[in-house]
Structure formats: structure tokens, C-alpha cells
Symmetry: C2
Subunit: 223 residues, 2 copies
DNA sequence: GTCTATAATGAGATAGAC
DNA sequence: GTCTATCTCATTATAGAC
């Protein structure tokens, strides 16, 4: 309520939001404090009032990212019919990955700029893989998919890789700057390619009914 | 033969080799000219005698990388039995990707440090995807795999992503610093997971006979 | 070809007035 | 909270002697 809460600086939030956009658009290594200040419309000195070190900006951004990611995972577990979960889950996941893509793409740079984040980054990835593993095992237990444990694990790893690097792939190979719903659907379709051959008739039916993965092969989607 | 050929500076080669190692190990953005000179065991001034700009080092390294990559692709097409090609191809590919992993991992940084490389990077990726597409189509034509064009294309994209980011995946998720043959076999096994469900009995037999992909599920391979 | 300077830049960060 | 002014420092790059 009062200014003392420290939460409502306004400027502080604008700095964070501006940084997220700048990092995403131009790369984490490329953005200087001068540029941040200019983009926010404040002075560099003021920037350092809000964040004593540049590193702190990254750390604060990461905390927000992690919270959002866990929210998506939790929401998936909490609500909805089993058959629509996968589609919603992938969409939510991809959406976040796009909003915070600099964390994926500039991992090496982030590591250098904020070494303290390393441990948390690993924890988050662990959780993501565990979520995926759980989802696949649950599908197998419910007769939607037929595969032994080794195959499930291999699928999980392949799916995690494709999902994690999908955004970077779009940018690198197709020059995609502005992602659309279509790009995310395309990613979901790619992911499905990994699971589909193992689906039972029942699994196939349920996924089709969910309507989550119907874009079919996506043609040359440029930009 | 004489010193005039410009090819045999010795120091020049040592600079390039040292840079490749430093970039791989510590990240392209992290390495300064001072550090390069120190690692090579020469003075910074001398470094600038051999490469007028730091950017030139990257460009020279990239030319070597591209040449090696094309050599692997060409060798695959030229020689050997069809059934052993896939395994050899993936090994050669992964091996190179490891030796030049900084080009994959620090793509964003490389782009900034040597903008002139962008076009060539894209060409190389185009060629890689085309190679993979051709290989899959040939397998389909020879009755080793059963899939329609859309499925083949989806497989190609998934395989390209897994292959391209495999090295980075090992480092990120498993802290792998020194890659072993086992890590590369593991990657080949992951790739096979994408194709395997589509193989015919004949295709399965040939791949097994090639002995290329037999590590089975790889357990916790650490470091 | 290799060295010892040294310049030139540009980044992160601070002090202190308003 | 915000600004102006300034500092410190690392990094790329050059000049010129050996």
C-alpha cells in the first residue's frame, strides 16, 4: 500500500519488463545498462538505484520465470480432463518459453553474468523432465500408450530436447522473430511425432478429440 | 614450402587451435585477446600481427568447421554399404559437433562478434537438413522405412533438432564436460528413437546388422 | 615475427546534488 | 526517486623498437 512495501516502484517493474523484451529481442550479452536506462526512459544512475548490480536484474527476472513455469506445471496437474491436458500443457509451456526465450538461448551468457543462477536453472530443468516422465508413465498406465520403460525414457528425452530448443530452432532455421499461435501448434505437432507411433487406438482417439494437435504438417511458415 | 606461402606460420595454427579449445571450454564471449595470447604463449601484439581483428579468428575457424562438416557429408555419400552409413554418418556428425560445439552453443554471440558469418551458417544448416531428408527418402524408397512425406519431414526436423542440440543437452542436463564415445552412442540411440517405430522388419534387421546403434538405454552417464 | 609500450573505447558502477 | 557528473577498469587495437 505505502511506498515502503517496496513492491510498487513502478519504475522497477518497467525496468524488468523492458529488460525481458530487450534480452529476448537482441540477446542478453548485447544489452548494456545505458541501453536499458534509455529504453525505460530513465537515467543510468536511477537504474542503479533500483538494481545495485546488473546481475540482480537477471536474478529477479529468473525468479519470475521460475514461478510462472511452476504455475503452468501445477495448473496442469490440478484441473481438467486427462485427454485435454497434454495439449494445454504444451501450449502453456511453449508460451512461457517464448516469453523467456533468452534464458534458453543465451544460457551460456546468463551463466557468466549471473553465476548464482546455475543451481536454480538445473533444478528447474530437473522438474521439467520429471513432469514429462510422470505424464508419459501415466499415459502408459492408462493404456493410451504402449512402450517399455526404456522407450518411455528415450521419448521423454527427445521430447524435452525438441520442446526446449523449439523456439531457438524457429529463429535459427526460419528466421522467426514474432512467434504466432501457428508456430506453437507446429511445435506441438513436432512433439506429437515422437509419441504418436506408440499411441494405442484409444490414445489416438483421445488426443484427436482434444483437438490439441491438429495443425497437420505446417508448410513453410516464414517470419 | 617457403615461408611465403603464408600457410606455415606455426604460430597462426596454434592460435586457431588454442581458440577452438578456449571457446569450447569457456564460451566464446568469455575469451579475451589477452587470454588467447597468454594461452598460446605469445604477446598480444603478436596476436594482432596474425589476425588484424578478433573477428577474423572466428571467420577462419568457421571456414575450417564448414570444410570438415562437408567432408563428413561427402564421405557418407561416397563409400560403404548402405546399411552401415547411417551409423557412421551420425558418429562423424556428432564428433564434429563436439569439436566445434561453441558454434552451436554460442550461436548468438558468434553472430554478434562476426556478423558476416550469418549467411554461411544458414547455408550450412540448409545443407544438413537436405542431407537428412535425402537419407530418409532413400530409406523409404528402399523399403527400410514406412512413412508418408509429412511424417518423413517431421522425423527429419525432430532428428535435426535432437542432433544439433545433443551436445548442449549433455552439458546442460548432465554436466558433461569431456565427451566420450559412450555419449555419442547415446545420442545415436536417441536419434534412433525417432526413426525406429517407422522401420520395416527389413530396416530393423539392417540397422541391427550394422551394429551402429546398440548401446541400449544409457544409464546415468555423468561427466 | 615478436616484443613493449600505449592509445582508445566503452562498459559497469558510484557520489552527491536536487 | 531521479538526475548529473565522474570513476574505474577491462578490452580491443595500434605504433614502433628489436
Amino acid at each position: 500500500m505505502a511506498t515502503t512495501t517496496g513492491r510498487r516502484s513502478g519504475t522497477r517493474q518497467r525496468i524488468l519488463e523492458t529488460c525481458r523484451e530487450l534480452f529476448n529481442r537482441r540477446g542478453t550479452a548485447d544489452i548494456t545498462t545505458a541501453e536499458i536506462a534509455a529504453a525505460v526512459g530513465i537515467n543510468e544512475g536511477n537504474l542503479y538505484y533500483h538494481f545495485k548490480r546488473k546481475e540482480q536484474i537477471l536474478e529477479t527476472l529468473f525468479a519470475a520465470f521460475a514461478a510462472e513455469l511452476r504455475e503452468v506445471a501445477a495448473a496442469d496437474l490440478a484441473e481438467g480432463e486427462a485427454e485435454t491436458r497434454a495439449a494445454r500443457y504444451f501450449r502453456g509451456w511453449f508460451g512461457l518459453m517464448w516469453e523467456w526465450r533468452f534464458f534458453y538461448r543465451d544460457a551460456m551468457v546468463v551463466r557468466r553474468l549471473a553465476p548464482g543462477l546455475q543451481a536454480e536453472l538445473e533444478t528447474l530443468a530437473d522438474e521439467g523432465q520429471a513432469d514429462l516422465r510422470r505424464a508419459l508413465r501415466s499415459m502408459a498406465a492408462n493404456g493410451l500408450i504402449v512402450a517399455d520403460d526404456d522407450e518411455l525414457e528415450r521419448m521423454m528425452v527427445n521430447a524435452w530436447i525438441v520442446a526446449t530448443y523449439w523456439i531457438d530452432y524457429l529463429r535459427m532455421r526460419h528466421g522467426v522473430g514474432d512467434i504466432t499461435r501457428r508456430h506453437l501448434d507446429w511445435g506441438a505437432w513436432q512433439l506429437m511425432g515422437i509419441f504418436e507411433p506408440y499411441l494405442t487406438a484409444e490414445g489416438r482417439r483421445l488426443l484427436a478429440a482434444a483437438g490439441g494437435v491438429r495443425p497437420g504438417p505446417v508448410p513453410e511458415v516464414q517470419a
